[in-house]
Each structure stands twice: as structure tokens, then as C-alpha cells.
Assembly symmetry: C2
Homo-oligomer: 213 residues x 2
């Protein structure tokens, strides 16, 4: 079916049809995604219509299984944007005991960031470390969140249980991702400049949906 | 400054620096954006790190001025996703008398969509037409929202004051955008498969920020 005709399709079938198209085009491009990563990378392509992610998405060993187990164990999620928080399927997360948080709009975070002349995202990471139990940090916007995390890890002040690192942009984004790749924290990271809140939410949701199948 | 070094920069300067990089790379690619569209297209590139948008973003005549005037006149905004709603700068919008809405999570919208076997986005558009005064429709996800709009316009049932049409995906996305281009409704549309809630919010925010400068 060419792109320029309307395909009449039941609402519930649209996502299935989209994934079929993605799988077909990956085959046409000669790309075979590793079996354990495919559900996440395909959902990122689904949310971005950008096949670059098939090449740049980077996973630590057994990353998807590790993340699933954390959710099953009731891990909390901390995001660096209200948009990513808004896009995450809280119903599934909370059914396993975890909650999703975003501290970016908190008045005390803003105040402290201004005082210290750092970003609110950096301060948010220090709030994340106060949460009891394992925390999955989800960064869809601010490379400074990853830089702050890297600093905490290096100084052995805190280690998140998992990092989903897909900030987007032009200043320090590439570097911040590469620094997290050097740590021993389990991760899903999109190398390069691309990412964003929709990509971050898609990764989290792929993990959550994987628990329901 | 290469991508692989940390650039030490004050938080307030990051966005300015990002736009300088975008402008430089556009020049290097030989791309000159039309003056009245540049602020919007650059903000979309800023939010996606994807220069494809420099080519695919499509504007009706004086689209940015038309949209600004609508906001100044107190137009309301209706989005097709909670994420886009979450990303829009409501403070500026509301300071001019408009409000941002998203009907997707409303129980009655869900119920009606199930009953009629259409998407919630399609039903949401029929809710949008009930809002008194001019409405800017912002579609970041569901091509069915645009198809539903096109149908309303064709049948002369309703005409939104402006359409920001940047759904993303693989089923009916390209076609739905092309149909809106055929109407006489003022628009900002990204042709092709790409778009999304972050892109939708970036377009709205570029218009809103333009009112403060």
C-alpha cells in the first residue's frame, strides 16, 4: 500500500499494521535487530518514524530483561520531563508497585538550581537518589541530567538501578551519553544527538507492555 | 567544538548555543529558511535534532503571523495527545485568554469511539468543534484526527481556525497531511511520516515565544 492512499483499518489494528510495515522496511534495509532488543527499538521507530534508531540504539547486556525485572520488583521511575512522565503507561507500572516521578516543576528544585547555577535536571537527579529502593532514571531531554548522574556514580554517591538515556540536542548530548556508556550501570541509550521525551516514553512503554504479553 | 567534549555553559545559555549550532549547520547545508518560518522550523529541529524538518515543514501563506494573531485574540488549542498538551507553554497561552485542551482521556470520548468503531482522536475533533470561538487544532500523533477534520471541513460542518498537523507514523499519516494541504484552512504541516507530540509542542511554543519577543 503506497503512502498516498487511505488505508481503511479498524482503530485496534493500526498499531499492528504499523509494526508490520516497520518489520518489512527493516528487512528491506537488511537490518536484523537482536531478538531481546527488537520490541524496544521497533517501538522507538514507531514513535519517531525514524529508522536511524535501528542503528544508534545501544543496550547493556540483557538490558530489556534487567529493566523488566526491576519493574516487576516495584522499581520507581524518575523522568527529566513532564512530557515523558505524561507518556508513560502508569497503569502497568503501578500494578507492579512502582511509581513515576518528575521533579522538574517542583518549586524547591527550581530554587536550588537557580542558587547553584545548575540546571533543574541536575538537581532532579539528586532528588531521585532520595527515593528508597531501585530507581530507573529516564532522561529524554536534558544531557545535564546524565552529566549529573555520571558525577554521582563516579563519586560513589549514588547509582541508579537503570538508565534510559535519550536526551536530544546539540550541546553536550553526545558526550553525556558516551559517559554513561563507560559506567557499569545497566542502560538503554540512543547514541548521537537524537532522542526526546516521546522516545523515552516509548522505551519505557515497550518494557511495560513486554510484561503483559 | 566537537560533539565529544563537554562544553561548560550556563544553564540559561544552552538554548542560545543550540540555536547557533542549528543556524551554522543550516548554512553549511546551503539551506535558507524563509524569514517568517525560521523561528518555528528551527525550534522543531532543536526538539528533534533532525534537519529533515528544514525541508519537509510546510506553511500556508503567512501561517506564523496568522497563528500569532489567533493566540492574541484568545484562541483555544485542542491537542490529540496528553503529551503535546503537557509540552505546551500554557502560561503564555492563558495570558492571552486561550486555554489548551485534550479530550483523549475523557471517558465519554472513549465510550463513543468504541461504540462507533472509530479512534478517540476522531471523536476528539468533534468535541473541539463544540468550543466557542476560534480553535487551533494541534495533531502530534493521530492521522485519524486529521482525516476526521478533513471530513468535517468537506461536509462544511466545521472549520478550525488553524491546523498544526504533525502526526507521526506509518498508516495514513502521509495521506492525512496531504488532504489538509488541499483545504483552505491555514496550517503548519510537516509532510511525510515524521512528527510527534514533541514536534507539535515545539511549533506551538515557537509561536507563543514569538509573542513575547
Amino acid at each position: 500500500m503506497p503512502d498516498n492512499e487511505i488505508e481503511y483499518i479498524q482503530p485496534g489494528e493500526i498499531e499492528k499494521r504499523s509494526f508490520e510495515i516497520i518489520e518489512r522496511e527493516l528487512r528491506q534495509q537488511g537490518i536484523t535487530l537482536p531478538r531481546d532488543q527488537a520490541s524496544v527499538t521497533k517501538r522507538v521507530i514507531h514513535t519517531s518514524a525514524d529508522f536511524d534508531y535501528a542503528v544508534t540504539m545501544t543496550y547493556s547486556k540483557d538490558a530489556v530483561s534487567v529493566a523488566k525485572k526491576l519493574v516487576l520488583d516495584g522499581a520507581n521511575i524518575v523522568t527529566d520531563t513532564r512530557m515523558a512522565l505524561s507518556g508513560i503507561n502508569k497503569r502497568i507500572l503501578e500494578s507492579h508497585g512502582g511509581q513515576a516521578h518528575c521533579f522538574m516543576a517542583d518549586a524547591d528544585v527550581r530554587k536550588e538550581a537557580e542558587k547553584r547555577q545548575v540546571t533543574r535536571a541536575a538537581v532532579s537527579m539528586e532528588r531521585a537518589m532520595m527515593i528508597p529502593g531501585p530507581v530507573i532514571v529516564v532522561v529524554g531531554n536534558a544531557p545535564t541530567a546524565l552529566l549529573s548522574l555520571y558525577d554521582l556514580i563516579q563519586k560513589k554517591k549514588w547509582k541508579p538501578a537503570f538508565v534510559i538515556g535519550v536526551p536530544v540536542g546539540f550541546v553536550n548530548v553526545v558526550t553525556a551519553k558516551e559517559l554513561i556508556l563507560k559506567t557499569d550501570v545497566p542502560y538503554i541509550i540512543n547514541r548521537g544527538r537524537k532522542g526526546g521525551s516521546t522516545v523515552a516514553a516509548a522505551i519505557v512503554n515497550a518494557i511495560l507492555y513486554g510484561l503483559e504479553r
